[in-house]
């Protein structure tokens, strides 16, 4: 089973995790820039963090044979602090980096006017830099948060197939399904989604545009729940090819739209996958 975890905060994880992930079949990850648990108060602490996402962390991942990519953004929670607003001016130079495959995590936390502004400004950056966008949906008031996020996405003019709405669940899957956006599901030990619930959603809605991630971070989370979901799919009667589609080809297709995925090692590509020309992109 080859696994691409399209949402995991490796900065918060140990080398033990990298080892266990590699052993479980994880060969590539996307690490979205997000909140660190402790609010930041200056631009410098963001740029140091972003530098680590395009510097140290890919090196660390590489030692375990895992390809590391990042998405870069000012997250919705910290968008509410005026001191962090100048982070927006630093983003363009990061959005030109090789390992940066989307703008994210953007979206809503508490749906404030400040979050509106920062969300819209960053969708415009995604369009300007020809990158996909990775949208975090709020944990509180989720249904209205998803509806409002979809409205902002539609208004921005970005193509829906270049947007993923993440942290979806049974209540929000239908809202996103018909928009053409991608659907992200974070599998958590006891909140968000579980492997059995994810299998039910895949049965009901199919595997098209579905992304499964562990969203593992500094909270209680588990980087191996992608693998557990793949195994639950097989037990439920899905084929190896279905699992490969959800856990590998789908994230490769979505983030491949950046033209910047670098999965060129022979062991990462398999002849069954015809679309590998998108991996590196020409532009």
């Amino acid at each position: 089973m080859r696994i691409f975890d399209p949402h995991i905060h490796m900065t918060s994880r140990t080398t033990d995790d990298y080892e266990r992930m590699a052993a479980a079949g994880v060969r590539a990850v996307v690490e979205p820039a997000f909140w660190l648990g402790q609010p930041r108060t200056s631009v410098g602490s963001f740029t140091d963090y972003f530098d680590s996402l395009v510097g140290w962390e890919p090196f660390r991942a590489g030692q375990f044979g895992i390809r590391h990519h990042a998405t870069i953004a000012l997250n919705p929670k910290e968008a509410n602090d005026r001191r962090c607003r100048p982070v927006l001016d630093e983003l363009p130079r990061y959005l030109e980096k090789d390992g940066v495959v989307a703008v994210g995590e953007i979206g809503y936390d508490s749906m404030t006017p400040e979050e509106d502004d920062v969300f819209a400004a960053q969708l415009a950056l995604a369009v300007a830099h020809d990158l996909p966008a990775m949208v975090h949906t709020p944990h509180r008031d989720k249904v209205r948060g998803v509806e409002r996020s979809l409205a902002v996405v539609a208004e921005s003019g970005i193509a829906p197939e270049r947007v993923v709405l993440d942290h979806l669940n049974e209540m929000t899957v239908k809202l996103v399904r018909d928009t053409g956006c991608w659907l992200g599901f974070s599998i958590y030990p006891d909140t968000k989604m579980s492997p059995p619930r994810m299998v039910e959603l895949l049965k009901a809605y199919g595997t098209d545009r579905m992304l499964v991630n562990s969203a593992a971070d500094w909270g209680r989370s588990d980087p191996l729940l992608t693998r557990a979901t793949g195994e639950a799919m097989l037990l439920a009667g899905f084929t190896d090819d279905d699992v490969d589609r959800v856990l590998w080809r789908n994230p490769v297709e979505f983030y491949g739209q950046s033209g910047r995925l670098d999965l060129t090692d022979d062991d990462l590509t398999e002849p069954t996958f015809a679309g590998n020309s998108i991996l590196r992109g020409g532009s």
Partner: protein, 205 residues
């Protein structure tokens, strides 16, 4: 290594027109280098250059871009290093000996040697490391041994290695022996060479 050799080795890159345009633009309008520099890997590739051992296509192309600046090489190198991802930083380090900057790039070497990214440490110990003072250089060589960077990456190794470095290596070898761990073979060989050189020539009787 010269700029002409870099240029020759890059003839076969996937998008030679992009590189040619970028070099012209940077020569005429230096500020544009900030835009071209991060895109180099995507345009010129990242493979090893067959005609230029030790260089990849993106490193060579970035070094050429830096070399084609009309002025302020030191300032631009510093900015591109500070704002660069790991590959960009590595390319700046490798370009330093090609640039008319005297010792102005030394702070970048110190920064790179402080990291734990072995690719940066190795790139900092190329020919430009002649600008490092002996204590910093010895510490950097020792760090290579610690972190598994092959000593082949170190320019002028035998010419610069001295008794002080030999003493540091010997202490490390003793520490490793006590812990039941081995030394990298290239470090043991260096220590042997340094020890042999310090022995008085056996006299014939």
């Amino acid at each position: 290594m010269t700029v002409d050799e870099l240029r020759a080795a890059l003839r076969g890159v996937p998008d030679p027109d992009w590189l040619a345009t970028a070099l012209d633009r940077v020569a005429a309008e230096p500020a544009t280098i900030a835009r071209f520099f991060p895109a180099v890997g995507r345009r010129c590739g990242r493979d090893d250059l067959p005609d230029l051992p030790g260089w990849t296509a993106d490193e060579a192309a970035r070094a050429l871009l830096l070399a084609s600046l009309p002025a302020d090489h030191a300032g631009q190198a510093e900015t591109l290093y500070r704002t660069g991802d790991a590959a960009e930083k590595r390319a700046v380090l490798k370009a330093l000996p090609l640039l008319p900057i005297g010792a102005a790039g030394v702070p970048l070497l110190h920064d790179a040697i402080r990291t734990n990214d072995t690719r940066l440490v190795a790139a900092a110990l190329g020919p430009y490391a002649r600008q490092l003072d002996p204590p910093a250089w010895r510490q950097a060589v020792l760090k290579c041994v610690f972190t598994g960077v092959p000593l082949a990456a170190v320019a002028d190794l035998d010419a610069r290695a001295d008794g002080e470095l030999a003493a540091m290596l010997a202490a490390l070898a003793a520490e490793r022996r006590a812990a039941g761990r081995s030394m990298p073979a290239d470090a043991t060989e260096l220590l042997d060479r340094l020890t042999a050189a310090s022995q008085p020539e056996p006299r014939e009787v």
